[in-house]
Symmetry: C2
Amino acid sequence: MKVNGIPYRTIWPHPTDERIIQIIDQRHLPHRFVVEDLASVQDVFTAIKDMHVRGAGLIGATAGYGMYLAAMEVSQSDSFDTHVKNAAEKLKSARPTAMNLFWAVDKQREAISSVNSKDEKISIALQTAKEIADSDAEYCRRIGEHGVTLIEEISRRKGGKPVNILTHCNAGWLAFVDFGSATAPVYAAHDKGIAVHVWVDETRPRNQGAALTCWELGNHGVPHTLITDNAGGYLMQQGKVDLVIVGSDRTTHTGDVANKVGTYLKALAARDNNIPFYVALPSSTIDWETADGVKDIPIEQRDPDEVKYVEGWCGDEVKKVRICPENSPAANYAFDVTPARLVTGLITERGICNADRDSIQKLFPKKQVL
Amino acid sequence: MKVNGIPYRTIWPHPTDERIIQIIDQRHLPHRFVVEDLASVQDVFTAIKDMHVRGAGLIGATAGYGMYLAAMEVSQSDSFDTHVKNAAEKLKSARPTAMNLFWAVDKQREAISSVNSKDEKISIALQTAKEIADSDAEYCRRIGEHGVTLIEEISRRKGGKPVNILTHCNAGWLAFVDFGSATAPVYAAHDKGIAVHVWVDETRPRNQGAALTCWELGNHGVPHTLITDNAGGYLMQQGKVDLVIVGSDRTTHTGDVANKVGTYLKALAARDNNIPFYVALPSSTIDWETADGVKDIPIEQRDPDEVKYVEGWCGDEVKKVRICPENSPAANYAFDVTPARLVTGLITERGICNADRDSIQKLFPKKQVL
């Protein structure tokens, strides 16, 4: 999508030197737009671990390029296989719960071992890294293509008045290689000339909505308004929301949706006000094992300081302020699970389906492999 | 309630000089405990207008003492009546939507005009100011007395294990003269030796939960944990909440509750998980005119910068940080309305009743006048 009028992805090979991979260092957003060069496995490991990049799709794509850099790094004295194996293990350890990370690394190991010479290995690793990134972007593009039909229908019903869409957290192009999941239908609508307006939940504690979603929508020119996480219910009561679209960190094959904490509260409000609540996801987030999401999806508890402190721009630098007494205990549950009964539908790369076992299996007759 | 082990109210006459009124200057909480002397109508006006004091009950009590200071301020040359009338108008203009402010000022004008000499006027004004403060504290104490029965029952059912209570914003003793509304049953339980634990919603955008509720519970020794506004739904799904108690800014005589934005989302989650959702309120917040709260209660829109910026402690001073791009539009709806159908009951100074017209009228057969 566009940044200052120029189309970007979140990761790409350096335009004049393919030994270098470039990313948007998202730690500086929204306050500074910083492009970082990654020239080694160590660089990629740090970028993933310290969250220069984040989001399932983008972590996978970055790991893919990391394995390409690993193949290039092998010196004469090293054993190629040992080096690549060590790099794979290192990269996998950067974010131990990221499914796409494991998948991308394993896909690269398979590709690299399928050819013999060092040059061939490097060449196939670059090609595979590009394929991983391209397919991530393509899946998101298709989510947009399917999801935009929902927006078009509401726009028709409203006689072309802006369609008000509420979203939570950042399931935007910054979390993938391009387009995003929840934002893909919004960008598709905007680019088709359909009037849209997005209510952006700030998404405490890490404020990914305020920092990232506002930034990307603003740069692409999509009208939007930042709100507190508390405000969505009121807006729905007052008829100011036509549609909710959120992303998903894990979706059970029965349709339960684990997503950033607070999603469930918005789903309840949408149901109470008869507003459609959709979840946009590439099928790689579908969990084909778990049936009861509320009971069985483990919820990460993060550092309580993320709740006690808020980070932002102050004067000419980023600072943290404490919002409570120094010794107040705090708890930081990072996700919640929205039961399938509250989900109007899932927007996937293969189309839109109901959030239930039969509908999901009909769209994905075999366990989906990206 | 206690601060550093010493019992406090939020407002009191200076212990050795009754020409001075003392308040806790709440702008500095939770970072500094500052007691401020108010010695003139102008001091009181500033304290109310610039929110050194806030909360319906406390604003009323402060205005009551303000009228006492007005009576004392009259010099020989002034006309007593003109001076008191001007002071009354000035104080009423400090927070133009605060019902208790008007009520306290008018009550004082009536008292002052009921006697003749200047000394008598000053004396009755002090007495009336104390009565207003005492009755505010007494009403809250009774709310605690009634509400604690709910906590005792849950405690029995749980075999004495801590009763987990979730609250939103600050309907604590800092918003009244003592005890608070939503917190009164909690303090009553704690002081009786019943094990309680409070989940405190931070309550964006102004973070009154994080700054004020955490501070007052911590000082009184009540176990509590700060959470984001997003987390309550997850906690309820996981059985970690036994009871929700919130305050109310305005309650229709049909049981709809206008309270700090986000309250409605917690009411929905409580209903979805069969958790009792109670609203604690002195009957002075009951609106005897309005029947449909969702439709007819006007919701204040405040400065969008409260959403874009977060204030907190940084190093050795209070600073503000911006959490979104500089030019992001933001909206700041300050309240929402929880429909009566989601409210398990109202805890008032006269007892607990259902949130419907008949039950409320039974408890308050005439329009309630404090």
